[in-house]
Every structure is written in C-alpha cells, then in structure tokens.
Subunit: 243 residues, 2 copies
C-alpha cells in the first residue's frame, strides 16, 4: 500500500542519459578498461547539453563505475549493465582504535561466512585460482621474511570471489580500506600479521576438502590473530606516546 502510484517523472535527464549509455555499453559489449564516447559526442548524439552528460557521468564516477582522465577520455572501470542495483554505503569513520576493532568485527563475520560458502560453491577453476594466490603469498612470505599485505589481500579476494556473492568482496573491501586509512605502520607492531600466516593454508585446505564448518573455524582463528596483533599494538601505543 505504501508506494503504488510512484510520482511521475516529468524530467529525469541524467537518468535517461545513464540508461542510454548503459544500453550503449551493452550493445557494444564494452568491458572494463574500454573507452566511452567523449562527452561532446554523447551530448550531440543524445541531444542534451554537455553539462547534463557531465552530471550523469559524475554520478557513475561516484559509483566507481567509470574513470575520467582529463585530456584522454572516460573509461569503464567496472562492468555496467542496464539493470544494476546501487546501494551507496557511507561509513562514519572512527579514526581510532575502536574504529579499527569495529572493522575487524565485520571482517570476522563476513570472512567466516565467505570461507564457508566458498567451500560449498567454489568450482575447479576458482579453487585453482585461490591456490595460486596462496602460493604467491607463501612465496612472498619466504622471500621477505614477513607478511606481504598485497599478496595476503589478493588471497582473501580470491576466496570472496569464489563465494559466489559479489557483496562479500565489495563490503570487505570497504573494511579493508577503512582499516588501512590510519594504519601506515601497524601501531608499532613490527611483525604484524605474522601469526595469521599458517591459517591461510588451513583455510584453503578446508575449502578444497569441501568442509564449510572447518573453513569457517579457520577463518575465525585467522581474524583472532589479527585482533590480537591489534591489541598488542594498542598497548604499545598507550605506552609510548599519548597524542
């Protein structure tokens, strides 16, 4: 009963532009990295002002679907389709220890679930991809004698992708970014993340063995080590300088 009879749209130029553009992308089968028509061309073809085109593209840019490079052009950054659903999530950033712990609690919940789902759903190709990332990570660990956050993150991303639910990757990416925003040096803990290393392999083993509950349990252990590192770091911080 609530919103039947939605308000009619007498004007919706921007949306119309985006709809047309999404259709264009589909027809031309454009993928990430490919170049869109220039703003001037779009304005002319769609019979709208270039300014309107720009507002529409600004929306897509804000959604991370598109990247504009001055002097070069506008490029697709993600797959777009006419029937996408957008859900902007804005997080009030807590720039303190509590904020970090908050992101970790979200990670704990999602990471465990994703690992479990992955153990159920991952196909052969995805399993191989996860193992490849795992090997890369372990190699980096040997070489540099410590955790490499890039390879580590790629491993986790591969797991999220294989979970069959794109939301996992997107949401945890937000947590990850939030986590790294005020964490250039991990609060003075030198071997941050070191303890988490072995659990990557155990998680993979559970996934490969199609053992959801095991994968969930190992993921929880992994997050627990990170939480522990964080708490140690907070203790260090409290000792050294209280800004």
């Amino acid at each position: 009963m609530t919103d039947l009879l939605p308000p009619i749209q007498t004007t919706a130029r921007d949306d119309a532009v985006l709809k047309a553009l999404a259709g264009f992308v589909r027809r031309e089968a454009l993928g990430p990295g490919e170049k869109l028509p220039t703003e001037r061309i779009l304005a002319e073809r769609l019979k709208v002002s270039r300014n309107t085109v720009r507002e529409a593209l600004t929306r897509w840019e804000g959604l991370g679907l598109v990247e504009r490079r001055q002097g070069s052009g506008t490029y697709l950054k993600a797959a777009v389709s006419p029937d996408m659903l957008h859900m902007p999530l804005t997080l009030a950033g807590g720039n303190d220890f509590a904020g970090l712990m908050a992101t970790l609690e979200i990670r704990r919940a999602l990471e465990a679930e994703a690992a479990a789902l992955c153990a159920i759903r991952a196909g052969k190709a995805e399993l191989a991809e996860i193992e490849r990332k795992l090997d890369l990570m372990e190699e980096a660990f040997q070489t540099r004698a410590g955790m490499s956050s890039d390879e580590d993150w790629e491993f986790h991303q591969a797991v999220f992708r294989a979970s069959g639910n794109p939301l996992f990757e997107q949401i945890i990416a937000a947590m990850y970014e939030m986590f790294h925003r005020f964490w250039e040096h991990p609060l003075g803990v030198r071997d941050f993340g070191h303890a988490s290393f072995p659990y990557h392999r155990t998680i993979f083993n559970c996934i490969a063995a199609r053992d959801p509950d095991g994968a969930r349990a190992e993921a929880l252990k992994l997050i627990a080590t990170v939480e522990d590192d964080l708490k140690r770091g907070a203790a260090n911080l409290k000792l050294s300088d209280r800004r």
Copy 2:
C-alpha cells in the same frame, strides 16, 4: 613498496567543495532534514562556478547524502562528517532471486555476529530497549495476525545498536534497503516472515541470558526461515508466470 609516490593532485575542485561543505555542516551542526545553502550562494562564497557546485552536490546526491528539490532547495538526508568513507555497492543484474539471496547471505553473517556481540556487551538500558521493541513487535503480530516489517526491523536495529559496533547497523541497513527495493510483494508468499516470529523472542532470551553462542544460533535459525520463504516464493514465481 607499492604506493609510495602516489600521484599528486593538482586540481580537485569538486572534492574541495565537498570538503568545505562538510566542514560547514559540522560547524553549523546541521542534521538530516535541514536545508543547505543554495547553489548560487555556495558558488559565490566558495568562489567557484555554480556548475562546479552542482557537480559536487550531484556526487552527494548519488551517495544518498542529500536530496535536491527543485524550487525549494537542497536538504540533508543523512548525517555527514568530513571523514566519511564512501563505498558504493553494486549488484549486477540484481533484479532477481540471486540478488535477494546475496543480501540475505550478508545478513546471515552479520546478524549472527551482531546478536552474539550484543549478548556480550548490551547494557541494562539497551536490553530494556530491545525488549520494548520486541513487545511492540509481538503486539503488532497479534493485532494484525502477521509479521509487520516495520516493527520487525526496529527490533533488529535495536540489537545492532546494542552490539556496540555502528557498522553493523549501517551495513545491514543497506542490505535491508536493497532487499525491499524489488520486493513489493514477497513473491506471492502471503505469510512471508511468519515463520521467523518465534525466533525474535528466543534471540532476546539468549541475549538477556548473556549467551552469545545461543544468540548466534537463534539468529541463524531466523535467517534460515526467511531464506526458506524466499525459496518458496521463487518456486511460486516459476510456476505461475515466466515473464
């Protein structure tokens, strides 16, 4: 080694405008529903073109932070702060059963964790608030002989708030909105959510008894009933009309 030497930013007019505006909102202590200065005023004060102001506001509008009403003004729709993190979530081809299930999987993970944390952390006042919402929900259930999604949602929100982690509420709210966007009628299932009713009380009991594992288990059962309803709905849909 990865991203030292980040690309320098020579111009960032839009961002500068938004930063200034966020500062303004904070200084004036503006909250949701309140009116922002007009585009013309902003352009004049910030010494930028009105066009630039519009592109900046378009970004905020796309993020759902602001609402523009022609002839009236621009109004705040959510709390904004200078240190927000924006994470637009996009679900490709979300208008189908798979999209609904995707949001539910996120809910399953977060809802269980939030309930467990709540059982650990909720204070007396928060506990009372949750029980109040529970009573309201049960009353509405008796009166209307069915689940009321408003009261139901308020109960869950109260739990998230008492979890001590604001991210739970924010993220699940986004899932909730996405869920309801293509779910006017619950796919032909008349008593949608009916089966979930008793678990609200059992969740609360576990929380009040400080039993995190129990709360988690009951929350999982609740989500399971919703998933079940959803699957029944999908089956109905497949039988009736295949558009």
